[in-house]
Symmetry: C2
Subunit: 243 residues, 2 copies
DNA sequence: AGACTAAATGACACTGGGTGCCAATGCAAT
DNA sequence: ATTGCATTGGCACCCAGTGTCATTTAGTCT
């Protein structure tokens, strides 16, 4: 399931000429600099000192480059879910697992932001993301189904998977252009907002505390786990800042 | 924004050799029969008695075929939202508009099911769907932003758009393999479930009333607008039917 | 009737992603 | 030195999509 191991035995046959990591790094670099569609696989292969044909032996698609070993990540999500005690209610469990899943080690923040930025910005990558996130969603759906003793393909589990992904993606989009290091807080806030959607809807500009001016890269840090109450409390001070 | 009108003046120049509708119908037919990736644009063009080059003058992409005039549909959604009175709370307004948006005239049900089925089943079309639905989401986000006097690109409006799309897609997926005619009911139930996510999560197999056995095409009709209470009431009778 | 105009088509060449096939390569073990 | 073998590289090929331009098919004007 996860990507082919980079070093299984490495004793027989011709040695590898590159690695997934090298190709991915070169690809992301070029995509970021020139835009996804203005970079050809040929250019990436050349930069890696490898033939075009060999590139496609490492990545099935140009669009796979920014995703790293996503199958492994999906398994990590499954692991996070498995770690949540059974007595935690479903949505709280999902929320907690997804938040933990999105803890990015400080040294990996820049790389992660660059890759997510590409994935959620470049049209071709936006398109492919749905195929990747499908597996992610399914893990949530399976967890939900197991918890409620339902078929994973039935309505409610699929809905929970879909909604969880919504929260994550909405959080990603706000986090990417921000200067904030802590992605998991954004995720947590998104889940909080969803669970309280119907209570937030009444003229409450609650989410303003998480708003950011994308152009100015001005972002207000949220300290700790934001609750809906905290968000609502900061409503007045920001209410008139909208254009 | 919407697709080029089929009959603007039609008096000068060489007459058209085909129409969007004809190409779309042929395409959907072939995709359904042989699978999306096993049908080439050449085959579709041949079947329509038109050159490959001409096909691309009607549709920018092979993947656009099942979408009809989606830009117009997005405008229809915008219209539905505009029709909702201001005193209806945000989520209720969105819910109502999306439900109305998804009312399919009886004679169009089969076609709509076929197209949605392709869009949510064929990997390449799944991928492209995100680019299409992006505009759809944005309409919801703009509505939300206007209601709350926020920037449409800020967190909460984007989240609402994302969540609304989640509800719709989850409903689509259940509706497609069902024998049920009424799509809008599925949509309504999905929104109901989302708004009450935190109340549903406690071991309640509420959604069983909407469950369907995809293989057997056995679906229980939901009469009228399902409420969470109604869903919960049918919990016991179905609780042991899960595999 | 014949020339003119304009919109649309069709043909061709080209780029780029992705695949199948097979010979060549480089290292290790013998 | 030879053999085994995983990997590479080259080549041909298919398909989606684009740019260019000549050609077709009408209606219209004289």
């Amino acid at each position: 399931m996860t990507e082919n191991q980079e070093t299984p035995d490495r004793t027989l046959g011709r040695p590898r000429a590159t690695t997934h990591d090298v190709l991915a790094e070169i690809g992301v670099e070029l995509f970021t600099r020139h835009g996804y569609e203005h970079v050809s696989v040929q250019q990436i292969a050349d930069a890696a000192g490898v033939s075009r044909r060999t590139f496609f032996r490492y990545f099935p698609t140009k669009a796979d480059l920014p995703w790293g070993d996503f199958a492994r990540e999906v398994e990590r999500l499954r692991g996070e879910l498995a770690l949540v005690p059974d007595d935690i209610p479903l949505m709280a469990a999902v929320r907690h697992a997804v938040v933990e899943f999105n803890r990015v080690p400080p040294e990996a923040v820049d790389q992660h932001r660059a890759r997510l930025g590409l994935i959620l910005t470049e049209p071709e990558l936006i398109a492919r993301s749905l195929l990747k996130f499908r597996d992610w969603r399914q893990v949530i759906a399976e967890f939900t189904a197991r918890r409620l003793n339902l078929d994973p393909t039935s309505f409610f589990p699929e809905l929970v998977g879909e909604v969880a992904l919504s929260a994550a993606v909405a959080a990603y989009r706000q986090w990417i252009p921000s200067l904030d290091t802590d992605l998991s807080t954004f995720i947590d806030t998104a889940f909080a907002a969803i669970v309280d959607l119907d209570r937030l809807e009444q003229g409450v500009a609650a989410q303003l505390s998480m708003r950011l001016d994308t152009r100015g890269r001005d972002h207000r840090r949220i300290t700790g786990t934001a609750t809906i109450q905290e968000m609502q409390e900061s409503q007045e001070e920001n209410a008139d800042e909208t254009r």
